[in-house]
């Protein structure tokens, strides 16, 4: 138990070391990532990395240089001597040859340690991944340990800070999570003064570059700030590790509740900075990091531009490792707090509202809604609320062109505002000037016009409509006519009320329209999901599932799409209206193997024709969906719908796969069972007559002289009958193997039932000896079109069965008749005990033998073969027992009779009589 003093004790250095060394032993097959981290170029990261590589190589590890910057410094280059270096992959891009890291060569070479410079590098177009850190991720997944280098300015979360410090926008950014996941981070630090010195000596860039670099980037002030950033990043990491160790070693610590930071963002341009600040806060608190966007159903429809910006913000948040959610609720603070409480959020970050004059006096009048921040603070309770000053990010183009865009888009609105005013004025004119109505009536008409415009067009159009209406009313219906001057001051009130009414109505109308639109789009999504679910429920095979999915995706995104399913370890495209060449298949394969999206619009193989998304079912990836949609079609909303559809498809595919697996497994078990039964049955059934024959033959040989004639004859008869039995058994086995080897090939001939029954009886002459065989075949039979050999076997097996299961000497009846439905019926009836109750359907199963008083003989194949042969002829074979009190089984063969009986040329009997 920890004592009080323990609580405040520093962590035990030994335990700390133990934990670190425990952390360094490879816990899984995944490779380990070591990052040499610095504040800027020139601190000696590559040098340190190569030194470390040499040390490892000297220890006997398999070390390979995957990529080192081509403009390498001479003293660094020396370190490469004696190390294996992978050749560059040369990529042609816009006439230039770019030298890139060769991922596939590295994966094939698979060294123990691989050095790859510049973690934040952006790959040339056409390579598998857009970013090098994804290459490295794949290397690590392949179990290769990687050394790499990184400058602080490339970290996504400090990107904005660096830009503010240095004034230089850094384009190549790296998600913080990559550094956070690194197993080891080594800070390479030099003082800013030394760095500037190195730069002057030309150790970092060539002199002319160095001159420019010094001015722009490498001034001491910048470097100090960058150094602080780098140190802080590493310090935070060390701090986090410390806490992790404390937690692990069980030291009591007040970390029972881990922090959760919730960042509320919107389409506003300031939100990007909000996300980065929030991320930094979360990192410093080592807290979870949630980003939400609240959509209010009452709000006006966002412009395309806003939607795209929001899209970017959400993606940035995802890149920074946030859990991103879009909420829907009319009351923003309430929705936000509700979500925060449900998710144990401890801190909420929101943007500080820009001060607006108007809101000041509106609030003074008690009309304005209180700001989000105020509302949140008032109701947040235990949750801390941070209001952060948002700033517009420079990569966001100004809004001006947006309003131009909107104005252009809305010219129809203004046109209809003008048209509406003209129509109302035309109707109003005679009312006032001819019939002398009061002008208040005309005013009502104008209001109606404004409402009509507001119902169909934007708010600005409806404001325009109300302004035009006021002007027209003043001009045409208020004395003095045809001037904008007014004689009565009371009209000012009229005008104001009209204006306010118009704005209010248009606001309300727009809100209702927005809600209707949102409802419609939700309804559409639900409908699409429902339709797919219906189609999938009706689909049994993967092909049907693919067809249904592809059809819905095509109609939803109005683009060709494809579904690839995994079959025998290769991807098979189903329903591909666009060309699936090897390259596209390769992209799809990558997506499947890594369970990640790939292709167009992603960071992996973006040159592909289509976007490939893995179909992830509970038990793993079952296929890939390819969608050649344009990137702007794939909004978050569309992606969410797509995710839902893909989950449905994936689950259906998995269900189909499992069904197929279960079926083959069952078939395998069944055939295994059959084989075992057959083997044991055959060996037993063959051995019995063989034993008898062997025994009898040896008896006859040894004691021939001592046996009298009648005994000798009896013994010889037994040999003959046992041999006959073996022959029947082998015939059945042959018939069965013929059936199994692809069914019966029927060689049909026209014949009479007599041609079947009489040879069958002749075959079993000795077996049926001593029995009365009653054959009842009425005259005038049709010809049957059957295979004589197969049908004879059917009858032989039925007669044999009758002989086996009825007492010796009891009669057997064979009756044939033509049924009214043009079928021929042959019954074989015995006087044995009949079929045991419940076994009527099983007697035709292979290896089924009805238990009788005596030991059942035979393999239980005869009836199964008979049934298969009759069914092959399009007939049926059934069995029933004789009605009580009689006993015996009645087998009934029903065969179809051909309507077109073959014709035989007639003869003239008179001429020919003998």
């Amino acid at each position: 138990m920890p004592t009080d003093t323990d609580l405040y004790a520093r962590p035990d250095p030994d335990a700390l070391l133990a934990s670190i060394s425990e952390g360094t032993t490879p816990s899984s097959k995944r490779g380990r990532l070591k990052v040499f981290f610095g504040m800027s170029a020139g601190v000696g990261k590559t040098y340190a990395m190569l030194e470390e590589a040499r040390r490892r190589a000297a220890e006997g590890l398999d070390v390979v240089i995957g990529y080192a910057e081509p403009h390498i410094r001479p003293d660094t280059e020396v370190l490469l001597l004696g190390l294996e270096i992978l050749p560059f992959k040369v990529v042609e891009y816009r006439g230039a040859s770019l030298r890139e890291f060769d991922l596939d060569a590295a994966l094939t070479r698979k060294p123990s340690v691989l050095c790859v410079d510049e973690l934040a590098h952006t790959n040339a177009p056409g390579l598998r991944h857009e970013k090098r850190w994804r290459d490295i991720d794949e290397l690590l997944a392949a179990g290769i340990n990687v050394y790499t280098t990184l400058n602080v300015q490339h970290l996504e979360s400090v990107n904005d800070v660096v830009q503010r410090i240095t004034g230089v926008a850094v384009r190549e950014t790296l998600p913080d999570a990559v550094l956070e996941r690194a197993d080891e981070v080594e800070l390479i630090d030099v003082s800013p003064e030394e760095l500037v010195e190195r730069l002057r000596e030309g150790k970092i860039y060539r002199p002319e570059q160095a001159e420019r670099a010094t001015k722009q980037f490498f001034n001491t002030g910048n470097l100090l700030a960058l150094r602080e950033l780098a140190l802080r990043t590493v310090a935070q990491r060390v701090d986090a590790q410390m806490r992790e160790i404390r937690r692990r070693t069980g030291t009591s610590e007040p970390w029972a509740v881990s922090d959760r930071v919730l960042i509320c963002i919107s389409a506003a341009p300031t939100s990007a900075r909000l996300i980065r600040s929030g991320k930094r806060l979360a990192t410093s608190l080592r807290a979870d990091f949630l980003v939400v966007n609240v959509e209010s159903p009452g709000a006006k429809m966002p412009s395309d531009r806003d939607r795209h910006r929001l899209e970017r913000h959400l993606r940035l948040a995802e890149q920074l490792g946030a859990r991103v959610t879009t909420l829907s609720g009319a009351d923003l603070p309430e929705t936000l707090l509700d979500y925060a409480r449900r998710n144990n959020v401890t801190k909420i970050v929101v943007g500080k509202p820009a001060a607006k004059l108007q809101s000041g006096w509106l609030r003074a009048l008690g009309m304005a809604r209180p700001s989000l921040v105020h509302e949140l603070i008032r109701h947040s309770g235990a949750i801390d609320v941070y209001a952060i000053q948002g700033e517009r990010e420079t990569d966001d183009p100004p809004e001006a062109d947006e309003s131009v865009h909107r104005a252009r888009a809305d010219w129809r609105g203004y046109l209809s505002a003008a048209a509406m005013t003209a129509v109302v004025s035309t109707i109003g004119w005679p009312l006032l000037h001819v019939w002398g109505f009061a002008n208040a009536n005309v005013l009502m008409l104008y209001l109606l016009g404004v409402v009509l415009v507001a119902m169909r067009h934007s708010r600005s159009a409806s404001i325009a409509a109300s302004l035009l209406s006021v002007a027209a009313f003043d001009l045409l219906f208020v004395k003095p006519y045809f001037t904008l001057a007014i004689s009565d001051r009371q009209y000012i009130v009229t005008f104001l009320v009209m204006l306010v009414t118009a704005v209010t109505i248009s606001t309300l109308t727009l809100r209702i329209r927005g809600q209707a639109d949102a409802a419609r789009s939700r309804e559409q999504q639900t409908a699409v999901q429902g339709a797919l679910a219906r189609d999938l429920a009706a689909s049994r095979t993967p092909e049907q599932i693919a067809t249904a999915t592809v059809r819905h995706l095509c109609s939803l995104f109005r683009c060709p799409s494809v579904l690839l399913i995994l079959r025998k370890d290769s991807l098979v495209p189903l329903g591909a209206p666009y060309a699936m060449d090897d390259r596209e298949l390769g992209v799809a394969r990558w997506s499947l193997d890594h369970s990640l999206p790939a292709g167009k619009g992603t960071q992996t193989l973006p040159a592909a024709t289509a976007l490939y998304l893995p179909l992830l079912a509970p038990q793993g990836a079952v296929g890939v969906v390819g969608l050649s949609a344009r990137a702007e079609q794939l909004t978050t909303e569309a992606r969410q719908l797509l995710d839902a559809l893909m989950l449905q498809t994936a689950v259906s595919l998995e269900r189909a796969n499992l069904e197929a697996e279960a079926r083959t497994a069952w078939e395998r078990v069944e055939s295994e069972f059959l084989r075992n039964t057959l083997l044991s049955g055959v060996s037993h059934e063959l051995r019995t007559p063989l034993t008898v024959i062997t025994g009898l033959a040896s008896t006859l040989r040894e004691s021939y002289e001592h046996l009298d004639d009648s005994t000798r004859n009896a013994l010889l008869d037994s040999v003959a009958s046992e041999s006959a039995r073996m022959n029947r058994l082998i015939s059945n086995l042959l018939d069965m193997s013929r059936l199994d080897a692809g069914g019966l090939a029927l060689r049909r001939e026209w014949l009479y039932v007599t041609d079947l029954i009489s040879p069958a009886l002749r075959q079993l002459e000795s077996r049926l000896e001593g029995r009365e065989i009653r054959v009842d075949l009425p005259a005038g039979f049709p010809l049957l079109h059957v295979d004589p050999v197969a049908m004879e076997r059917v009858l032989v097996n039925l007669f044999d069965n009758a002989a086996e299961y009825s007492p010796a000497g009891s009669p057997v009846e064979i009756v044939a008749a033509v049924n009214p439905d043009a079928t021929l019926q042959i019954t074989v009836a015995d006087h044995g005990p009949g079929i045991p109750p419940g076994a009527e359907s099983r007697v035709f199963d292979r290896f089924f033998r009805a238990s009788t008083e005596g030991h059942p003989r035979g393999l239980g194949l005869g009836l199964a073969i008979a049934k298969a042969a009759v069914v092959a002829h399009g007939g049926t074979l059934a069995v029933r027992n004789r009605p009580a009190p009689n006993t015996g089984a009645i087998f009934t063969i029903t065969l179809p009779v051909a309507r077109d009986q073959p014709s035989v040329p007639p003869e003239v009997p008179n001429r020919t009589e003998a």
């Binding site: 003959a720 041999s723 022959n727 015939s731 042959l734 013929r738 060689r747 001939e749 026209w750 014949l751 009479y752 007599t754 041609d755 079947l756 029954i757 009489s758 040879p759 009886l761 002749r762 065989i773 054959v775 009842d776 075949l777 005259a779 010809l783 004589p788 050999v789 004879e792 073959p902 035989v904 040329p905 003869e907 009997p909 001429r911 020919t912 009589e913 003998a914």
Partner: protein, 225 residues
């Protein structure tokens, strides 16, 4: 008697059975030596297994038929009805199906030898008597229990072919050729109809015939005593 058989136990069994019944046996284990023995030793009959290691039994039959009318009895297994028919149509005289008993084998051999003698010498008996049935082919007169039986020309021709080959199997094709001429080889239903008519007119119990026997998948055989 030339026995063409490649399985030693069967060879031994056939030699014993035949020698016990007074035939001399020459053995051949494959088709080539069978053809050589047939021309050198001039046997009275060839007992030929259809399954031989070097040559199809059917091929041996054809080669023999190129130069000799020597009777051939074919030995084959059940389920090879097509092979049997082919061998018979190629000129074999009869067949036995494995497994077979010695009496059956001897009966086939006797029938084949008798048939060979008949074709070489005088035409066989033209009048036979089977129980209460009398068939006089020369006078075209058939009586059953003393009463005359009327046959159509085709019925008569069919009966005549069968009676002239007592105990010998005749394939559908052979019978059709004899009765309806060489143009008809596939209309086996003619045979079914006429055999049925003959059975109705001649057999004491037509549903369990004893005169004209069906050889399933092969043809018909007229009873011999």
């Amino acid at each position: 008697m030339l026995v063409v058989e490649d399985e030693p136990p069967l060879q031994k069994f056939l030699r014993t059975a035949l020698e016990t019944n007074g035939y001399d046996v020459v053995e051949a284990a494959n088709g080539t030596s069978a053809l050589r023995h047939a021309s050198n030793d001039r046997p009275d009959l060839v007992l030929l297994d259809l399954g031989l290691p070097d040559m199809d039994g059917l091929e041996v039959t054809r080669r023999l038929r190129e130069w000799t009318r020597i009777p051939i009895v074919v030995v084959s297994a059940r389920g090879q009805e097509g092979d049997k028919v082919a061998a018979l149509d190629a000129g074999a005289d009869d067949y036995v199906t494995k497994p077979f008993g010695v009496p059956e084998l001897l009966a086939r051999i006797r029938v084949a030898l008798r048939h060979a003698a008949a074709t070489q010498g005088s035409p066989g008996e033209s009048a036979i008597s089977l129980g209460d049935l009398n068939i006089d082919l020369a006078n075209r007169r058939i009586t059953r229990s003393g009463e005359e039986v009327h046959l159509t020309p085709n019925e008569f021709r069919l009966l005549a072919v069968l009676v002239k080959n007592p105990g010998r199997v005749l394939t559908h094709r052979q019978l059709l050729h004899e009765v309806w001429g060489p143009g008809s080889g596939n209309e086996s239903h003619y045979l079914r109809v006429y055999v049925n008519q003959l059975r109705q007119k001649l057999e004491p119990e037509p549903v369990r015939p004893t005169l004209i026997l069906t050889e399933t998948g092969v043809g018909y055989r007229f009873r011999s005593d």
